[in-house]
Assembly symmetry: C2
Homo-oligomer: 302 residues x 2
């Protein structure tokens, strides 16, 4: 059995961090993630630097990325797409949500309006990049920080719209990290009735400690693609209370113990985010990362 990890650290992990990180440090972080074996990495976002100053260097970073892995970039709108296309970006991630309250606060549109924008950006990208890859994020699929719990029935029409637009993958997001396994299982079953499960990825946040249990629920349903962030960095600037993606180290440790192949070296991964954590002034925050670093320190390997 195999699990594919879509690494979020450089984008979702950093976007909400206030300490400015120089482009060289981001590149070094990405190179260390690649050396640890990660093969799909969301490297940055072509969002306006006014909104997310941390990722204002996207155009500088992109041409420096190494050959080999699959790099994607978040593209929030047409302007972002133009910037991405100038740089030859072949994999983009577009963004919508289930809750109007969330998209209103976030991008000043209803969900329906955001789907129109999404469709237009997607078709401009398809024209410009034949064979390109579009990932669609569906945020607040379990809970909206402004309007409360989201029932799975409300997720389906949004996913159907993305399927109609013709995305290559849909990543279902527990943006504020409140989901628990039973609701993941329910939504997963519903989604599998309307889409090919190979197109389905899950994006869990670990704000309340449930992310890995949610991964297990989705795995049991046959999903094998999971977003995660090295060191558990990240959160959503628009979602009060959200703090920390599922940590890639916890996911990789779990897979190792379960005998599931990820292609990732846990020791190298645990070390990969250490310099950027130092730059951010943070101690290691993923549990598996802390355990691995402590073991390495004891045995004198680090």
């Amino acid at each position: 059995m195999k699990v594919e990890i879509i690494e979020m650290g450089p984008r979702d992990g950093l976007q909400n961090e206030k300490t400015p990180i120089p482009v060289e440090a981001k590149l070094a972080f990405i190179e260390r993630l690649v050396a640890a074996g990660l093969r799909e990495i969301e490297a940055t976002s072509f969002v306006s630097p006014k909104w997310v100053p941390q990722l204002g260097d996207a155009a500088e970073l992109w041409p420096l990325l190494p050959e080999g892995p699959l790099f994607s970039a978040l593209v929030p709108n047409r302007k972002g797409l133009e910037r991405a296309l100038e740089l030859g970006v072949k994999r983009i991630a577009l963004f919508t949500a289930v809750s109007d309250a969330f998209t209103q606060k976030n991008i000043n549109m209803t969900v329906a309006e955001s789907l129109v924008e999404f469709g237009e950006v997607a078709s401009l990208f398809r024209e410009a990049v034949p064979g390109g890859f579009i990932r669609g994020y569906v945020s607040t699929a379990f809970q909206c920080p402004f309007s409360g719990r989201v029932e799975p029935e409300r997720v389906l029409p949004v996913v159907e719209s993305l399927l109609k637009i013709g995305v290559d993958e849909i990543s279902i997001g527990d943006t504020v990290g409140m989901a628990s396994p039973t609701e993941v299982r329910r939504l997963d079953q519903m989604l599998r009735s309307i889409m090919d499960k190979k197109m389905l990825a899950w994006h869990f946040h670990d704000t309340r400690g449930t992310a890995l249990a949610n991964v297990v629920a989705a795995l049991e349903g046959g999903s094998t693609r999971f977003d995660a962030s090295a060191a558990g960095l990240g959160g959503c600037p628009y979602a009060p209370g959200a703090a920390g993606n599922l940590s890639t180290e916890d996911l990789v440790y779990f897979c190792l113990r379960e005998g599931i192949d990820t292609g990732v070296d846990l020791g190298l991964l645990a070390e990969a985010s250490v310099p950027i954590l130092q730059a951010l002034g943070r101690a290691p925050i993923s549990k598996a990362q802390q355990a691995v670093l402590a073991e390495a320190a004891r045995s004198g390997h680090s």
Copy 2:
């Protein structure tokens, strides 16, 4: 559905902490846990103060405990039992493990020798306290920090010995926090073939982030009793690499979201360990606790 939590914070949570905590602070911690709704609490250990100085005040603490909840104490040997009996302790926890390497380092006995000691202490307790309650810990049920992975087949004879001795409950311990759900499920199925599942409790550590996923696996098998520690405090002084019990807050949040009754108020629980964390010089460490405290701070309730 109902989950019963056996709170480990005052004993397993504190035993490995170097900063001495005065008995008044421990009592206040316990009173706050009781106010949050916890009904079974392992309050202390009658271990030698030479081994675990932090719990050297057991005889001072015990008479101060409030009426109402079920308090237990860990009893490591006959000498500890004598001290416990003098104080009228009615619920004791005794200790063994699956791995000889672990018991040798820990209590200088093989597992077989520790079972003989266990049986003798148990029968002295039964004579002295008719109707008393004995919980048996089976440590290193998945992994020994000294001798590696533990197959579930090796756990069964230890559990059978405890059943023969006549304990009231058996708590299966992932002492170093390395287990993952598939092995929990396997062991759970084997255990249910030899014992009443009502006698079974699980003691997970969250060292690598897998504890809550393991709870879900055991719950699905029909278990409803789980050990947890407020703030995720704790670890095992004899198990290098072990750091942190499953946090009670993460467990209670999960149960709330799943609609499972625990009788615990998550807001009060999140606050309950704040003074002791301050005394220990630690920031809140449980993810759900951090999220709840952050929410409370934002809404001005704290």
